[in-house]
């Protein structure tokens, strides 16, 4: 039996020495001979018609190489930007989106012209000289009013602002009527700016003699970008190479193709010069897709003993001015709204609303934080009505049998929800905390304990489910494993690592599968010129459960071939050959063994079995049979200062279960970061626009409050391990778990803290001013 040596080990990351030395290579660190710089002239208005564009002053500015507007770009870019079906196949309207506006701008920041010049500064100077004459139109900024028949439309000539209206399961009101208590709540999910520390950026070089394009960009999925660009540029994929080097964070915001991803290559083709564009932070907050931006109207009913009865969910989703490429993915919030619990009945409807804001698209968690938030909020509201402890009502209704088929037909693979909750309560010292709370309340202090039991659908995903969602391409994953004659290995994957540590974890899997030392295995990703024909990228916590399995599958193909060669060398039947920890031997003769490295050398020599080709390499595409379903329980402890509305997050406990673990250090790191992003939503971050003018008010990190180290306590982690039966490694995903769980743990804690004042619900961000007003109202 093979002994696992690397899987599960805390291996320090091999990407770190270069990253801590300043030798990481991010997009802005690349240049090509003769590079010129692009600056984008953007609409200052949320909604306007372009009457004219005066380029005369700008074209005379020093260092300007060229200025392009819609008519120029349209010569080299065809078609509209993609909008995938995702979870809403049938959309009412998909406003056509071109990378640069022609006659109408529909959100502040939409590109209107681009300047390329000899330096960044000169490009920006010249961009300021371009005079665009706009006729300002009324902007659609309020999600509630947008569906009013009298509302202006986000696009002129559109019938209304309805992007989609889909009922997944219709309501059966008779079920809710049977409940002893029913609670109703409107829950807000503010818009968030993903804010990876490295903004986006693109560098493109076009070779006219070769008719080929090389593009360097900060992307989570370079293969998809190549696919989209091949179509738009009318070039075969073979002539386009997309390289995504070290990427300074993605969080979902570097999945979809952006205007600049087309404009930079177009400008390179038109000008014949390599063109580079690096997003400023203000551009990032203004034009990189936002996350969340939703309103939920929810009703939930339960019996007196706490048994959950019915849940009714309506999601209103602010799509922005266009359908984000994967914007409709966020409707998954409806499909996950029942959480970790058994409900007799659920009804769910999603309504997509067009507005004059930048489109929304997946942001860490994408729909699943919203689902957890609404479900866990309603459970607490029901617990409050029933005077039950929030833990008791959860335990009473947890799903305990797996596989579990949800109301939506999704199959939860495995889980042990109560076990994770018990562990979280143990770490938190839950009973003691409740006693402390009782004491604190006697002294007029507002201490609160918030519980969040989360589940997640991830590991996208099975071809049968994902091919229709993308419009044809299944979200499987590819890997290529090459074993060189002396036994060193290069692995190519279609996923992309931008902080997740794949350079370390994927070789851990290969080391165990092939029995080759970890140090002899190298991972490569992020270059469409290398590896399998197509790679599917990193998002939706899929890299390990899908990509890691592709790596495992390709490695097993290597073992299969090596075993045939070994049998041939041993002059034994293949079924008599044993493979154990990197060595082959004939059953009963373990002393006469050959290492994988020796077989690799033989694979490139003479005298192979008849009809076997030389070489030892394999390509695999892995198509999972199901999604994977991680879960856990988080507990937040807060104290609210009733005089200022300030929240002191005193403790944060997280127990998460992502199945088997390849590298515990990296898993913990992913959880830490995810928790921080959810807390950031709960307490600090919000993209704010002026409701009338549509002007962005939070256009820099001065106003958009990304929290610092000083805003967080230490996070106390624990884990349970419930392997998935879905894949051979028993692994799930952990990239988004923290974010999915944490916003509601904090909000439930705040509501718990303020419950003596009769406050039942608090929206996000629970900023001091919001809480102070709510406390003041409650006291009056």
């Amino acid at each position: 039996m093979a002994i696992t040596t690397m899987i599960g080990a805390k291996i320090h990351r091999r990407e770190d020495p270069r990253l801590v030395s300043g030798e990481g290579r991010y997009i802005d660190d690349f240049t090509r001979p003769g590079t010129v710089f692009m600056s984008v002239v953007r609409s200052p208005h949320a909604h306007a018609l372009i009457k004219s564009i005066d380029l005369s002053a700008a074209s005379k500015a020093p260092g300007v190489v060229a200025i392009y507007t819609h008519k120029d770009i349209a010569k080299v870019i065809a078609g509209t930007m993609p909008a995938a079906p995702a979870f809403v196949a049938d959309k009412k309207q998909v406003p056509p989106r071109f990378p640069i506006a022609e006659k109408e701008v529909a959100y502040q920041g939409e590109p209107v012209a681009v300047v390329i010049a000899e330096s960044k500064g000169k490009a920006a100077d010249a961009a300021n000289l371009i005079d665009v004459d706009y006729e300002v139109l009324p902007a659609v900024m309020d999600l509630d009013k947008a569906l009013d028949p009298k509302s202006p439309t986000a696009h002129t000539g559109a019938p209304d602002n309805l992007g989609w209206d889909l009922t997944y399961i219709p309501e059966d009101p008779s079920v809710m009527k049977g409940a002893d208590v029913v609670v109703k709540q409107r829950i807000l999910q503010q818009r968030l700016a993903p804010t990876p520390m490295e903004p986006r950026g693109v560098l493109a070089e076009y070779s006219h003699p070769d008719q080929s394009m090389t593009i360097w960009m900060s992307s989570q999925n370079p293969h998809f970008i190549r696919l989209f660009l091949a179509g738009a540029l009318g070039m075969p994929e073979t002539r386009i190479r997309v390289i995504s080097p070290d990427v300074g964070g993605g969080f979902g915001a570097k999945i979809s193709p952006y205007s600049e991803d087309y404009l930079v290559p177009a400008a390179a083709k038109l000008s014949g010069r390599p063109v580079k564009w690096i997003e400023t932070r203000t551009e990032s907050i203004m034009t990189t897709t936002h996350g969340r931006g939703q309103i939920f109207d929810v009703e939930a009913g339960a019996m007196k003993d706490g048994t959950l009865v019915a849940l009714k969910v309506t999601q209103y989703l602010d799509m922005g001015a266009y359908v984000g490429t994967f914007g409709a993915f966020q409707a998954v919030a409806c499909l996950l709204s029942t959480g970790a619990y058994n409900w007799k009945h659920v009804s769910a409807r999603t309504v997509g609303v067009l507005t004059n804001r930048v489109p929304t698209d997946p942001y860490r968690g994408a729909g699943r934080p919203e689902a957890t938030h609404l479900c866990e909020r309603m459970i607490d509201l029901l617990a409050g009505e029933l005077k039950m402890d929030p833990v008791a009502i959860r335990k009473k209704n947890f799903i305990t049998e797996f596989p579990h088929t949800s109301h939506f037909g999704l199959v939860y693979d495995s889980g042990a929800y109560e076990k994770a909750m018990d562990k979280a309560m143990e770490i938190a010292g839950y009973e003691k905390l409740r006693k402390e709370q009782e004491e604190a309340r006697k002294k007029g202090r507002y201490l609160g304990i918030g519980v969040s039991s989360w589940i997640e659908i991830c590991g996208f995903g099975p071809s049968a489910a994902t091919a229709p969602a993308t419009g044809g391409l299944a979200l499987v994953e590819s890997a290529q494993v090459r074993v060189f004659p002396t036994g060193s290995v290069t692995v190519y994957v279609g996923t992309h690592s931008h902080g997740q540590g794949h350079d370390t974890t994927f070789p851990q899997i290969v080391a165990d599968t092939l029995g080759i030392p970890y140090d002899m295995i190298e991972l490569r990703h992020g270059d469409t010129a290398e590896g399998p024909a197509f790679g599917y990228g990193t998002y939706g916590s899929r890299s390990l459960a899908v990509g890691g399995m592709a790596v495992h599958k390709a490695s097993k193909k290597i073992v299969d071939k090596a075993k045939k060669i070994a049998a041939h060398i041993f002059e034994a039947a293949e079924e008599d050959v044993v493979f154990d920890q990197g060595h082959f031997y004939v059953k009963g003769s373990p002393d006469k063994r050959k290492a994988m490295g020796e077989i690799a050398f033989a694979a490139y020599g003479a005298g192979l079995p008849e009809e076997m080709e030389q070489g030892l390499e394999a390509v695999a595409y892995y198509d999972p049979t199901n999604f994977v379903w991680p879960f856990g329980t988080h507990i937040a402890v807060v104290e609210v200062d009733p005089e200022t509305g300030a929240v002191d997050l005193k403790r944060y406990i997280a127990v998460d279960d992502c199945g088997n673990i390849i590298n515990p250090m990296i898993v913990d790191g992913q959880i830490h970061g995810g928790i921080a992003q959810g807390i950031a939503q709960a307490l600090y971050e919000e993209v704010v626009y002026d409701d009338e003018s549509g002007q962005l008010k939070t256009g820099s990190l001065v106003d958009y409050l990304v929290p610092t180290a000083n805003e967080f306590p230490n996070f106390e982690l624990g884990r349970t391990i419930t392997p998935t039966p879905t894949n051979e490694l028993g692994v799930k995903g952990i990239g988004e778990a923290g974010t999915i769980a944490s916003s509601i743990a904090v909000i439930n804690a705040i509501c718990d803290a303020l419950s003596p004042l009769g406050i039942k619900h608090v929206d996000m961000p629970a900023s001091p001013d919001r809480l102070w007003k709510q406390i003041k109202e409650a006291r009056n």
Binding site: V20, G22, D28, G121, F251, L701, F715
Partner: protein, 169 residues
């Protein structure tokens, strides 16, 4: 009009003619060619561009290149000595104090100054000391651990001998 600027960067002297509006961070990246110092915002919030100027942590987007005339600058590239990582670099590696790595150079430089000022900081002091540097990946948990670990390795010795990261360069 261009101005002459002469600086010492990581122990090496540089002299260039630069535009007066050129920020020090762009000078280091685009003129000197040291791209380890990163740009993450336009408003001096993120700290990704933190370097040491005469031993003091400075966000290099808050200075013009011409203001660095005659100054001694240390960037992340100047932290390792003789092929050995600086204890802070080593600690960030050991404690998983980085994920995407984009904020890391600035974070390490800010931490170097923090430890120079306070060789044995408490967790609170580390959190306050690094509040000028944003990280989006780690939730700061392992960054705090990294700084604690480096403080232990450096054992306050830095202070005794006066040999700080800054002074050594």
């Amino acid at each position: 009009m261009k101005h002459k600027v002469a600086t010492t960067v990581n122990g090496r002297e540089h002299e260039h003619e630069v535009e007066p509006r050129l920020l020090l961070v762009h000078y280091l990246r685009d003129v000197v060619g040291l791209t380890g110092t990163h740009v993450g915002c336009d408003t001096s919030q993120c700290g990704a561009c933190t370097i040491l100027v005469d031993g003091k942590a400075v966000k290099s987007c808050t200075m013009f290149a011409v203001q660095a005339e005659g100054r001694k600058i240390t960037t992340i590239e100047g932290m390792a000595k003789d092929g050995e990582l600086h204890p802070l670099q080593q600690a960030f590696w050991d404690e998983h104090g980085l994920q995407c790595g984009y904020c890391t150079p600035g974070m390490i430089m800010a931490a170097a100054y923090l430890l120079e000022q306070n060789p044995n900081p408490t967790e609170d002091e580390i959190r306050k000391g690094l509040e000028g540097n944003l990280c989006r990946c780690t939730g700061y948990v392992n960054i705090v651990k990294s700084v604690q670990s480096a403080a232990k390795t450096m054992g306050g010795a830095a202070k005794k001998s006066g040999q700080t990261a800054a002074a050594r360069s």
